[in-house]
Symmetry: C2
C-alpha cells in the first residue's frame, strides 16, 4: 500500500486533543505509510503538536472545525445542525475521497447517523452495526456485534449483521468463521421471535457458517468466532462484562495492590493473568468498527486514553488495508443472489 | 411461625433426587419449623432417604409422581400434558393449600407456564418475573429482574416488575429501595421505546423510588438496589457475568491453583476475595423467585449442587415467612389507585 490517510475527529471523547493528538503521533511511528488529518480547533491542536515537537511533521495536517458535537446531542439534531463540527468534517473528508477512514471517540448515535447520511449504506444493508473483538479463554479471536448502534432491529437486519461480521472475521482469521446468535438458551424453542426468525434465515444461508444459539456465558469461551445480537443486548452484555471485570479489579486494588509486598507477590503469582481483566476494560481494548457503510468508520470509547485511541487508529488502518467495505459488498451480493433466486 | 411446608420437585434439575433429597435433609436442620414434601419417583427418593438414614423422618413426606418434565418441553406442551409430573404435582400442592411454597430446578418455561395456570397471577400483574440477588462491590444487596421468565414484554409489564422488585427488596433491606431501569446509556435520549415509556411511568409513580437509567457496567456497583429489564436482556446479562467470572476462574485454575505452592500463596494473598468470583457462579448463588403469583415459587438453577439447592429452599422459607405475595398485592393496589384516580 503506497499511503493511506485517516481523518481524526480530534475533539471527540472525554479528553479531546489531549488524547487524540499524542495518539496520532504514536500511530504515525507504527504505520510508516500513514498520514493523519486532525480535524478540530486549530489552536488547541497546534498547541498539542508544538508540545510534542511535531509542528512541522509533513504527515500531519490540520483542518479547522468551529465546533463539536456534545454527548447529549440526539442523532436527529446531529443530522440537522452539525455543520462545521469536527465529527462531520472528518466524515466529509472520507465521503469526498480525501481520507480513507475516519476515527472518532465522540457521540455514538451522532456518529452513526452522520456516517449513514454522508457515506451511505452498502447496497443490501439496512443499518450499520458496531463490532468489536472480545478476549476469550483460549486466546482465540472472537467478535460481537451489534454493540449499540441500533436499539431495535428486525430479523433481516440481524441477518445482515451476521453476514458482515462473518466477512470481517474471515479477513482476520483466514478461514470461514463460525457464527452464533446470542440467545437465552441453546435449544431451538428458546428465545424471542427476532432470534428465532433470524436463526431460520441463517440455517438456509450457505455463505455463513451458522452454528446456532450461543448463551451469555459462552461469549468468552470461543464457542463461536462471531456472535450476533441487537444493539441493546450487545451493549448491555459488553458493559456488564466491563462491570464484572471492574468488580474484581477494584477488590484487588483494595485487598492486594494497596500493599506493596502483596503486590509484588501477586505479580509473581499471576504473570500476565491480570491482563485478562484489563482486556475487558474498554480503555485498553478499543476500537469498534461501524460496518455496513461505503466507507470505514471506527468508533473509539469516549474514555479512551492515548494508547487506546492509538489502538482504534490501528483498527482503521487494518480495515483500509483489507478493503473491508468492498469485501462485505461482494459477499452480501452473493448471499442476496442465493436467497432470492 | 408455627410451621411451614415446602413442596419440592425432587426430579427437577440435572441431578434430580441425588441433589434435591440431601439438600432437603440439610434444609430441615437449618429451619426447625420446616416440613418438606418430596414429589417424584417414590423408590428413587426412598433410596436416597435410606442412604441418608432419614427414612423415618416425620418432617419428610413423599408424594409419588409417575413422570417428569424434560428440559426441551415447550411451555405450551407442559400446559397440555404435564399431568402426573413431579413439577405439576408440587405446584398443585401449593394451589391446594397443602404446601406454602414450591421449589424446582426444572424447565424454567414450563415452571412459569404451570405456575401461572395453577396458582394464578396477582390482580394487576400481567406476567410473573424471575428475580435474584446480585453481589456488589460494596457488599450491599442488589436485585435484578426479569432473568428470563419473559422474552418480550411491554412497558406496563416492565413497570409491574419494578413495583414487585421494589417490594421484595424493601422487605429485605428495611427501607424503600432505589430502582433503576437497565439501559444502554444514562441520558434521557438513550434506549429503545420500551425503556423510555417505562421510565416515564416510573417517574410519575411515588410508590417507587425511581432513580433513572442504569448501565450494564453499573450492575455490580450498587448504584440501584433493584435493576429492572426484560427477561431476554436480564438473562443474557446474568449469563455474561457468569461467563466472565468463569473466564477468570479457569485461568486461575490453569496458572495458579494447579500448583500446590502457588495455591497456598494465593489463599494467603486473597483471603475471601475469590468468593466474589464464586458469587457469580450460579451453582453457589442460587434461587430465583418467580414474583407476581398468588403463591411462592422458587426456581433453582438446573446445575445446582446440594448446597445451592439448599440455598433455594432457604429462599422459599424466607418468602413464606415474609408473606411476600400479600405484600406485593397491597403495594400494587396502592400504585394502581395512584395511577388511575
Amino acid at each position: 500500500m503506497t499511503g493511506l490517510t485517516i481523518a481524526l475527529d480530534a475533539m471527540g471523547g472525554d479528553f479531546g486533543p489531549q488524547v487524540t493528538v499524542p495518539a496520532s503521533v504514536q500511530a504515525l511511528l507504527h504505520f510508516p505509510s500513514l498520514k493523519v488529518v486532525l480535524v478540530g480547533d486549530q489552536s488547541e491542536i497546534t498547541r498539542q503538536l508544538v508540545s510534542l515537537g511535531q509542528k512541522e511533521n509533513p504527515r500531519i495536517s490540520i483542518v479547522h472545525a468551529e465546533s463539536l458535537i456534545a454527548n447529549d446531542t440526539r442523532p436527529s439534531q446531529a443530522l440537522r445542525s452539525s455543520k462545521g463540527t469536527s465529527m462531520r468534517i472528518a466524515l466529509e473528508l472520507v465521503a469526498d475521497g480525501q481520507a480513507d477512514a475516519c476515527v472518532s471517540a465522540g457521540n455514538t448515535g451522532a456518529l452513526m447517523a452522520l456516517s449513514r447520511s454522508l457515506l451511505k449504506l452498502l447496497p443490501g444493508i439496512d443499518r450499520p452495526a458496531l463490532i468489536s473483538e472480545l478476549p476469550t479463554v483460549g486466546d482465540q479471536q472472537s467478535w460481537l456485534l451489534d454493540l449499540g448502534a441500533n436499539v431495535s432491529v428486525d430479523a433481516d437486519t440481524l441477518f445482515q449483521f451476521a453476514v458482515m461480521g462473518s466477512v470481517l472475521a474471515e479477513e482476520q482469521l483466514g478461514y470461514k468463521p463460525s457464527v452464533g446468535l446470542l440467545n437465552i438458551g441453546e435449544e431451538e424453542i428458546k428465545g424471542n421471535d427476532l432470534v428465532k426468525r433470524c436463526s431460520e434465515m441463517l440455517q438456509q444461508c450457505s455463505a455463513v457458517n451458522y452454528i446456532g444459539y450461543v448463551e451469555g456465558d459462552q461469549l468468552y469461551t470461543g464457542k463461536a468466532d462471531v456472535i450476533v445480537c441487537d444493539g441493546f443486548v450487545g451493549n448491555v452484555s459488553l458493559k456488564t462484562s466491563e462491570g464484572v471485570a471492574r468488580l474484581f479489579l477494584e477488590s484487588l486494588k483494595i485487598h492486594v495492590l494497596a500493599n506493596p509486598f502483596k503486590k509484588l507477590v501477586a505479580k509473581w503469582l499471576f504473570g500476565g493473568l491480570f491482563n485478562r481483566l484489563k482486556d475487558l476494560n474498554p480503555d485498553q481494548y478499543n476500537g469498534a468498527s461501524l460496518l455496513g457503510l461505503r466507507g470505514i468508520v471506527v468508533k473509539s470509547h469516549g474514555r479512551a486514553d492515548i494508547s487506546a485511541f492509538q489502538h482504534a487508529i490501528g483498527e482503521a488502518v487494518h480495515e483500509v488495508e483489507r478493503q473491508l467495505p468492498n469485501k462485505i459488498c461482494d459477499r452480501l451480493e452473493a448471499v442476496l443472489l442465493e436467497r432470492h433466486y
